[in-house]
Each structure stands twice: as structure tokens, then as C-alpha cells.
């Protein structure tokens, strides 16, 4: 049966493409330190809004040479805006597995090897630089870590709460159900974004960045569990009438065990679809918070606060590459939705033809 679902899923080309893209983005986030030539805070202020570096494969004579980048000559125009020009006499060969900023592989093994880079004082900006001369490519990769992990962590927490609370409400029914459902409705009553802002205001301003990160995860999960709990509750109301629940009771299993082991697994396919379709919500919520400066703080990168740089029309006009984080948010959210929709088609018998 699992195989049938999988092959049906594979027939949906868009979903497969989405899954592959998600896989690549997540893998890139996981190995961000290694793939990125610089750390997220490595800055060189003279290179403010440096355009993407051109990688040259041929020298002036037109013969094929190992790839290199030119050094930059910085001039100012009449508005004191920087104009970057290649310095013909300064070449920095692009090399692989080079020494660079210190980091730990997966947080464990300390090393300084990066996939690619150029020798100092040359700098390589694959996708341009931001206002402080930090490499956008590196910051996007590091930002992906935060943006994607908030989605996954937030969903994990809010779904654990939602499944358990919904399971309890549905299993016991009656007064318990009434009380829990009214509480859920209270949470759902508030417009999400304002609740998000209000809760964010409660977080002390002196929190360090890790604490802020965790606070945001908790806040997002705090908002997200209620709607899931309602649906799970409805499923459990019908599941508890099934005979195997009665049989589990005659075995002397505790209520909690019956809920977790015997009832909730039946909601798995729905939950899986719901997970896929709600991760984008978390990514977007984190981005919105960071965009308005209430989320992840500089110098730490998230897609939201990277995009915050693109709020001025002047920046977009002269350094359009700073819109890239928005593009990545868009792609990721799209992929999750496409994959989630395909999963629903495959797993939910009600929507299949």
C-alpha cells in the first residue's frame, strides 16, 4: 500500500521536482558553513553593495585558464555611490577546499576548509554583497538554517501539542472536550499576526540571539496548535468508537497509551499533509517578524532579516540582488505547498477520484 502511494506520488512531476528542490535547499542549509566561502558575519565594508563577481575562464588573450576573479577598483560617482571596476592587474584564482573562517562541521568537528574561495585580499561575491560588504550567498545559506529550522521545529512542537490535546479532547469527549475546544477557539479567534506581535513584545529585550530564536519558535508553535487540535479531535471522536479501542481498554492499557499508540497513528496521513502545508506558514511568519526587525537580529542571518535590507527603493534599484532572499522564501513555500498538495491527493481518500 505504501508503495502504491509512493508511485502515485512520483507520477506528479511537479511534486517530485518540489521534493528534490526542498532536499537540495535543506542539504545546503545543513552544510552551509562548508558551502559558503565566508561566515555569516565576515564583512569588508569597502565592498558595500558590491555586485556579483564575474568568474572568468579566459584571460585577456582569450586562452583558457583556471577560473579567476579580478580585484575591484572602487570609484565614486557624483552622488558618492560606489562604482566597481575590474582591476586588470589583480587576479585571484578561484580555488577549491581553501582555508577560510573557522567553523565546526555539523557543530562537531572544528575546521577551516571551505568548498571554494579566493585568497585574501581578494573577495568573491557569488551573488553580490550587502550594505556592509558581507557575501549574500554565504548569508543566504546561513539564513536558510534559521528560516528552515524554525519551520520544522515550530511544526514539531505545535503538532505534538495539537495531536495530544486534540487526542485527549476527542477521546474523552463530553466536558473535557468542551473546555479544550473553547480554549482552542480562543487562540484561533485572534488574528495570527497581531497575536504574534503581542507575544513577541513579551519577550525581554535583553535576550541573546539564541534565546530570541527559541522564543520565536515557541511563539509560533503557541499560535499554530489550535487548528490542528480541532481537526484531530474530530477524527478521534469517530476513532474512539472503533472496536479496537474497546479491545485496548479491556487489555488494561492506560488512557494516554490508548490515545498515543492506538488512536493517533490513524490520523497519520492527515497529519503528514497538514505538516507539509503548515511549514510554509511558519517560515513566512518568521520572515515577517524578522522583516520588521522583531525576529532574528543582525549579524545573524535569516531570510526575513536579509530581505529587510531590500525595503528601500534605492537599494533595489542599484543592488537588485538583495531581493534574492525573497525569491528563496517564495521557492521554498511553493515547494512545500506543491508537495503537500500532492501528498493530499495520494493519502487522503476523500479527495482522490
Amino acid at each position: 500500500m505504501k508503495n502504491r502511494a509512493w508511485s502515485q506520488f512520483c507520477e506528479n512531476r511537479w511534486a517530485v521536482a518540489g521534493l528534490i528542490i526542498l532536499g537540495i535547499i535543506h542539504a545546503a542549509a545543513l552544510f552551509a558553513d562548508f558551502l559558503a566561502p565566508y561566515s555569516f558575519s565576515n564583512e569588508e565594508r569597502t565592498y558595500s553593495y558590491a555586485p556579483p563577481s564575474k568568474i572568468h575562464f579566459r584571460d585577456e588573450q582569450g586562452s583558457l585558464v583556471p577560473p579567476f576573479v579580478y580585484g575591484a577598483e572602487i570609484k565614486f560617482d557624483e552622488y558618492r555611490r560606489r562604482i566597481y571596476q575590474d582591476k586588470a592587474d589583480e587576479k585571484y584564482p578561484l580555488s577549491f577546499f581553501v582555508q577560510g573562517d573557522k567553523y565546526k562541521i555539523l557543530g562537531l568537528v572544528p575546521t577551516t576548509i571551505h568548498l571554494f574561495g579566493v585568497k585574501e585580499p581578494g573577495r568573491i561575491y557569488l551573488w553580490g554583497a550587502d550594505s556592509r560588504g558581507r557575501d549574500l550567498f554565504s548569508r543566504l545559506l546561513h539564513g536558510a538554517r534559521i528560516s528552515l529550522s524554525i519551520g520544522i521545529l515550530g511544526v514539531a512542537i505545535s503538532f505534538s501539542i495539537g495531536l495530544l490535546v486534540g487526542g485527549i479532547a476527542g477521546y474523552y469527549g463530553g466536558k473535557t472536550d468542551d473546555i479544550i475546544m473553547r480554549i482552542c477557539e480562543m487562540f484561533m479567534m485572534f488574528p495570527g499576526f497581531y497575536l504574534l506581535l503581542a507575544l513577541r513584545a513579551v519577550v525581554p529585550p535583553n535576550f541573546n540571539s539564541i534565546q530570541v530564536y527559541l522564543a520565536i519558535v515557541v511563539i509560533l508553535s503557541f499560535i499554530g496548535w489550535a487548528s490542528l487540535a480541532r481537526v484531530i479531535r474530530g477524527m478521534c471522536l469517530s476513532l474512539r468508537e472503533r472496536e479496537f479501542v474497546l479491545a485496548a481498554k479491556t487489555m488494561g492499557l492506560s488512557d494516554l497509551r490508548i490515545i498515543i499508540r492506538h488512536i493517533l497513528p490513524h490520523t497519520l496521513s492527515y497529519s503528514l499533509i497538514a505538516v507539509m502545508l503548515s511549514i510554509p506558514g511558519y517560515i513566512l511568519a518568521e520572515s515577517s517578524l524578522s522583516l520588521i526587525g522583531l525576529g532574528i537580529q543582525d549579524p545573524y542571518a535569516s531570510w526575513g532579516n536579509l530581505l529587510a535590507e531590500a525595503m528601500g527603493i534605492v537599494q533595489i534599484k542599484f543592488a537588485p540582488w538583495i531581493l534574492l532572499p525573497g525569491f528563496f522564501i517564495f521557492i521554498t513555500v511553493m515547494c512545500f505547498n506543491v508537495v503537500g498538495d500532492a501528498l493530499r491527493d495520494v493519502l487522503d481518500p476523500k479527495t482522490s477520484q
Binding site: 472496536e243 479496537f244 474497546l246 479491545a247 479491556t250 487489555m251 492499557l253 497519520l268
Partner: protein, 251 residues
């Protein structure tokens, strides 16, 4: 186990009325009746597992010196599965479709013992062997829908006897099986009674089954026991009109 004056009602209408019976040690007691006679409700009431809306109005269920209808929730949980186990009519529904048969039998050990994984597996395989399953390992790993009806019922019985309960309440254990399998499963019950020293409260509508197995029988109609006694006596010499009616369908 002794049930005294049990009454169950739904919306103040009594569906089990003043039922008293005694299941003696190591005996098989058959509770017979047509559908809707209240026999299954009696069985479930003893373990306090009635569907919401059904209410125990009065009565006692004395088991091991305690009244099961009055003891606390935790004490009751300890009785369920460990001292009184239940076998259902259709094991396909009584088994959880998303867990393997083995996992579900092991649930009994999880609930009442501190056996570790390996010990649980070993015990489960031993039980499956006792109930006459040829390749316990395969059955252990199978999902309920992958087994035949007979196998499933045997596995369900294995689950019931796992902790050597003193009483098994069997609610129509053979009704979903074909005739030859019915006989085998009933033989299994007899064998297990001798092996584990347990008594069986057999809830059934099938007087043919009663004839072969039961020591005592009580006939229920409309929530009341209309006739009871040793099975030989009742079946040979039925006193009540309803019993005669039931008997006339058998032969």
C-alpha cells in the same frame, strides 16, 4: 465471579434488568440469548466498558473479593487484561489495523509487567504456539488483515490468556468463523481452561456451541434471565418458552 442484581439502563429504559449469575472457578458459563437480549451489555458492564449513555443502575460484580463496579479506576485497570480478559466476535475489528498482531499482544505485557523487549517477544511467540499457530514468527510480524479469520481469532485468544487471567469473557468468539473452525476454537478454549485454570463467561446465541462446552447456562431475553441451570438440564428439559424457541432453531 458473581454478578448480583445487575441493572443497566439507557435513558431510564432498562436493557439489563436484575441479572444475577455465578461463574465458578474453572467452569464455562454460557450466557445465551438473541440479539438485543442484553447479553453483551452484561459482559461489558462487568468491566465497566459500556458505551457512553449506558448506565449501570444497580448491582454488584464480585470478583476476587472486590466489587468491580465500585473499585477505583487504577485498580480496575489492573483487573482488565490481567485478571479478566476479553475475546471479541470479530478480531479483524478488535485488532488495530495499523499495528502488527505481535505488537498488540505485547501491549498486554507493557500494561501489566515490566518485561523488556526480548522477553516480551519470547513470551508472545510462546503464547502463539500454545494457541496452535504453526509459524508464530510470521504471525507476530503480520498485520491483522494479512491473517485468516481462524488465525486472527487464535491470536486474539493468545492475547487474552497472556497473563493467565482467571476469567475470560468471550463475546461470540466463534460467530465470525465457519463451522469447522468453530469447533477447533471451542476445543482450544477447553484446552486453555485446563492448562491455565481459567473460567470462561461465554456469550453466544449458538446453542450448538453451548451443548458441547458449557457447564452452566443462563438464557436471556429482553434484558432478563429467563432460565438458568446446568447446561445438560436446561438443554434437555427447557422450561421457558423462549428457550424452547431457541432450541428449535438448532436442530
Amino acid at each position: 465471579m458473581q454478578i448480583k442484581n445487575l441493572a443497566v439502563s439507557v435513558n431510564s429504559k432498562k436493557i439489563v434488568d436484575d441479572v444475577s449469575l455465578t461463574v465458578e472457578e474453572r467452569s464455562i458459563f454460557a450466557l445465551v440469548g438473541g440479539s438485543g437480549s442484553g447479553k453483551s451489555t452484561t459482559g461489558l458492564a462487568v468491566l465497566r466498558l459500556l458505551a457512553p449513555g449506558l448506565e449501570i443502575k444497580s448491582g454488584e460484580a464480585i470478583f476476587g473479593g472486590r466489587d468491580l463496579l465500585k473499585i477505583g479506576a487504577e485498580e480496575l485497570r489492573q483487573v482488565r487484561g490481567k485478571e479478566i480478559a476479553m475475546v471479541f466476535q470479530e478480531p479483524l475489528y478488535a485488532f488495530n489495523p495499523v499495528l502488527t498482531v505481535g505488537q498488540q499482544i505485547e501491549e498486554v505485557f507493557t500494561a501489566h509487567t515490566d518485561f523488556l523487549g526480548e522477553k516480551r517477544l519470547e513470551e508472545t511467540l510462546r503464547l502463539l504456539d500454545i494457541v496452535g499457530i504453526k509459524d508464530p514468527l510470521r504471525v507476530h510480524k503480520s498485520y491483522p488483515h494479512q491473517l485468516s479469520g481462524g488465525m486472527r481469532q487464535r491470536a486474539m485468544i493468545a492475547q487474552a490468556v497472556a497473563l493467565k487471567p482467571r476469567l475470560i469473557i468471550a463475546d461470540e468468539p466463534t460467530s465470525s468463523l465457519d463451522v469447522t473452525l468453530q469447533a477447533r476454537v471451542m476445543e482450544l478454549f477447553l484446552k486453555l481452561r485446563d492448562e491455565f485454570d481459567l473460567s470462561v463467561l461465554l456469550i453466544t446465541h449458538d446453542l450448538g456451541v453451548v451443548q458441547h462446552m458449557a457447564d452452566h447456562v443462563a438464557v436471556m431475553n429482553n434484558g432478563k434471565i429467563v432460565e438458568s441451570g446446568s447446561s445438560g438440564e436446561v438443554l434437555k428439559n427447557p422450561k421457558h418458552q423462549y428457550t424452547r424457541e431457541l432450541l428449535s432453531y438448532v436442530s
